[in-house]
């Protein structure tokens, strides 16, 4: 009989404990209320973006004498506002820019200006990134239809005069990176 009472007491205890555990889980889970209040810090890290547009080929007029420098205005968009530019020549010898006829070469130099007109100039070396340049458009990837920089090519008179008559070409690859 005592054994039966004991069993009954244990069963009752377990049932009570189970209901309390269920109540505990109900209390922690809850459901969202209409006036629930919380706070959250929202952080977004926006990557730097850059683009270069408005590039045109630079073709000098045929001439027996050294042509005057030519410049091509371009649009550089960089949301930090500054950037580096790395302009490399397909026919470079070391850091020297060269035009090639296939058998002969004419040296030339490349300068970068931080404005469509005027501005500060940076002399470039083929395959080497420039120091940080300011003046990029920070809001419009198309510079609002204008230009924020220009690339200038100046042919070396010494190698031009001594080069045989021919057509000389090169391809410049321009890499602009935000800084």
């Amino acid at each position: 009989m005592a054994n039966g009472k004991t069993k009954l007491a244990v069963i009752a205890g377990v049932a009570l404990a189970s209901s309390l555990v269920a109540a505990a889980f109900a209390a922690t889970q809850g459901t969202p209320g209409a006036t629930s209040t919380g706070s959250a810090d929202v952080r977004a890290e926006k990557e730097s973006a850059v683009s270069i547009t408005g590039l045109n080929d630079i073709v000098f007029a045929a001439s027996a004498t050294t042509p005057a420098p030519l410049a091509d205005p371009v649009c550089v968009f960089s949301n930090p506002g500054s950037y580096t530019v790395n302009v490399s020549s397909a026919n470079a010898a070391g850091g020297t820019y060269r035009l090639s006829s296939g058998s002969g070469f004419i040296n030339y130099s490349v300068s970068w200006f931080n404005a469509g007109s005027g501005g500060a100039t940076v002399a470039l070396t083929s395959g080497t990134a420039s120091p940080s340049i300011t003046g990029a458009d920070q809001t419009s990837p198309t510079c609002g239809g204008g230009d924020t920089a220009r690339i200038q090519v100046t042919i070396d008179p010494a190698t031009y005069i001594s080069a045989p008559a021919a057509t000389y070409t090169d391809t410049l690859t321009i890499i602009v990176s935000p800084t």
């Binding site: 404990a17 889970q29 926006k46 890499i175």
Partner: protein, 62 residues
Amino acid sequence: MQSRRILVLVAAAVATLSIAAFSAADRPMAGERPGITVGVTKLPPDKPATGQVAVGVTKLAS
């Protein structure tokens, strides 16, 4: 006597579970945590832009 002991044990178990229940209730729920930081980092950053320009000149005989 044995029934009494059992009842004491049950009472102790109930007390323990009650404490556990209150502790659980005090814990913040997922939707109630203050100061949650939500962030996003888009990779890769600082992707460069590239372009190409042809340069050409025809040297005439002097």
